[in-house]
């Protein structure tokens, strides 16, 4: 077997998240037909599958350097053909942020959903404008888009927590037994810490690569926890003794 393949795809992180996708798929396809069509279940599965896909794509770009080089050239990056930041920018900073905003929207009380709709529109429009105008090219660090995405997730989490302490439906329930509570808590941590690491990433790799490596590992651990929670959302109908029904989720 090619040593490079083992190096790139055999890391503990990729093995764990690939296993999570297998477990998530087994659980998702065991769900009833009705449940599979509910956004509450299919959206976490889409996020799970997409996360595993782009992490593997990142590994593939480090394995197939020619492919990475040609994509960089296509995007206009001839200076640093070894960068694969475009995978992170497109997949995590933009698409995953949009998917998580949709997931948060799903958990908000109906009157607050419109804020997420506006945030989604603004996020898509500004990200597009920043990239088209060349202010934040796809192949370089994107601190504005990253900050905007992180702040929107934080605002979305804030809306969720506001609902948790004011809405009658949430006040009647036990938050520690709501899967949405744990997902929002870890999203809050992931996006705030990922924001710090993404703005200091290039700097740390230049001056203190060890610390850069450590901080980037925070993202990995948080990523694994988030994926784990996505699996728990999909599996929640099989664990009725552990998790309570979400207050704004229409039962089948």
């Amino acid at each position: 077997m090619d040593r490079s393949i083992i190096e790139q795809f055999g890391s503990w992180y990729l093995i764990i998240i690939d296993s999570f996708l297998i477990i998530g798929s087994l659980i998702f396809f065991r769900l009833s037909k009705d449940r599979k069509t509910k956004i509450f279940y299919w959206l976490p599965y889409v996020i799970l599958a997409f996360t595993v896909f782009y992490e593997n794509l990142g590994a593939y770009t480090n394995y197939n350097l020619e492919f990475k080089k040609s994509v960089n050239a296509l995007l206009g990056n001839t200076e640093n053909p070894n960068y694969n930041l475009w995978v992170f920018n497109i997949c995590f900073q933009q698409i995953t942020t949009i998917l998580y905003l949709l997931l948060i929207r799903n958990w908000l009380e109906p009157s607050k959903k419109k804020f997420i709709n506006w945030m989604l529109l603004i996020f898509v429009f500004i990200s597009f404008a920043l990239q088209i105008t060349g202010i934040e090219p796809l192949y370089l660090d994107q601190p504005i888009i990253s900050a905007m995405g992180a702040n929107m997730i934080l605002i979305g989490s804030g809306l969720y927590f506001m609902g948790l302490i004011t809405n009658q439906h949430y006040l009647e329930t036990e938050p520690l037994r709501l899967i949405s509570f744990w997902q929002m808590t870890f999203l809050l941590f992931t996006y705030s810490l990922t924001y710090i690491s993404s703005v200091s990433y290039l700097y740390l790799y230049e001056f203190n690569p060890d610390l850069g490596q450590s901080i980037s590992q925070i993202d990995m651990y948080m990523g694994i926890i988030n994926i784990g929670i996505l699996i728990l959302i999909i599996a929640s109908p099989l664990l009725p003794k552990v998790f309570l029904r979400e207050p704004f989720y229409e039962p089948i």
């Binding site: 938050p175 809050l188 705030s192 740390l204 901080i215």
Partner: protein, 251 residues
């Protein structure tokens, strides 16, 4: 310490600070949730106990009214019939004695009818429409004023607590109209607009100034009672123009 080391410390500090801030935020939210949950429970218990108190008051008022009615019936009707029966039975004429026996039979059936009023079971056997009809008939029979009753829908079987409150509220509105408004006509209407069922009681009496609080706070009581069952009341009136009351029933 060189500048790059400084910046590294800033990054470490920021990461730890942000992590701590987020942890504090989430823990604070859980604490606030617990606190509000307890407050909410207390509030719900209070509402429940107020609801029960209001229902108890209403039951007491209805029982009080019933006892007054029974007392009046015993004195004015049954008492009179028994006196008459005593007279007939004391007579030596056989036809009078026969009449006395018939009067006793009449007394028995009157007592039976009266005993039915002594508990609140009649509330369950009567619909709101039947109750309104009975009340309006009573008003008409006294020759006090004309009455009309229209209903485009049937309210159907309502829960006992809702029925009790509605009966008492309707009774109070009709009594108020008779006591204070001296109307020539009282109109009652029931209809449904969307999901809202409404009972309208309208009189063409004296009317009153709704901006002046009444000493008996009767209007406040009406509102409070309707709110107890999840309904509402709206009152439109002005001096010389009669009174229009809408009782909005809970969905």
């Amino acid at each position: 310490m060189n500048p790059s080391e400084d910046q590294i410390y800033v990054i470490i500090f920021s990461t730890l600070f942000l992590g701590g801030l987020m942890s504090t935020f989430v823990v604070a939210m859980v604490f606030i949730h617990r606190q509000r949950q307890a407050q909410n429970k207390q509030k719900l218990d209070q509402i429940k106990s107020e609801h029960e108190k209001t229902l108890l008051n209403i039951e007491n008022e209805i029982q009080q009214d019933t006892l007054t009615h029974v007392g009046r019936e015993l004195h004015d009707n049954i008492g009179q019939l028994l006196s008459l029966a005593k007279l007939y039975l004391g007579s030596s004429k056989p036809e009078k004695q026969q009449e006395g026996k018939e009067t006793i039979n009449q007394v028995i059936s009157e007592v039976r009818a009266l005993s039915k009023n002594l508990n609140l079971d009649w509330v369950e056997s009567l619909t709101i429409e039947e109750f309104i009809e009975q009340q309006l008939q009573k008003i008409e029979s006294t020759g006090f004023c004309k009455t009309t009753f229209e209903h485009s829908i049937e309210l159907g079987e309502l829960p006992k607590d809702q029925k009790l409150v509605l009966i008492r509220v309707i009774q109070e509105i009709l009594n108020n109209a008779m006591k204070h408004a001296s109307p020539e006509e009282i109109k009652v209407k029931i209809w449904k607009d969307g999901a809202t069922r409404t009972i309208q009681i309208k009189d063409n009496g004296k009317g009153f100034d709704t901006s002046i609080e009444s000493s008996g706070s009767g209007m406040y009581n009406l509102k409070k009672r309707m709110e107890t069952i999840g309904g509402d009341v709206s009152i439109t009136s002005s001096i010389g123009n009669g009174t229009l009351i809408h009782l909005l029933l809970p969905n």
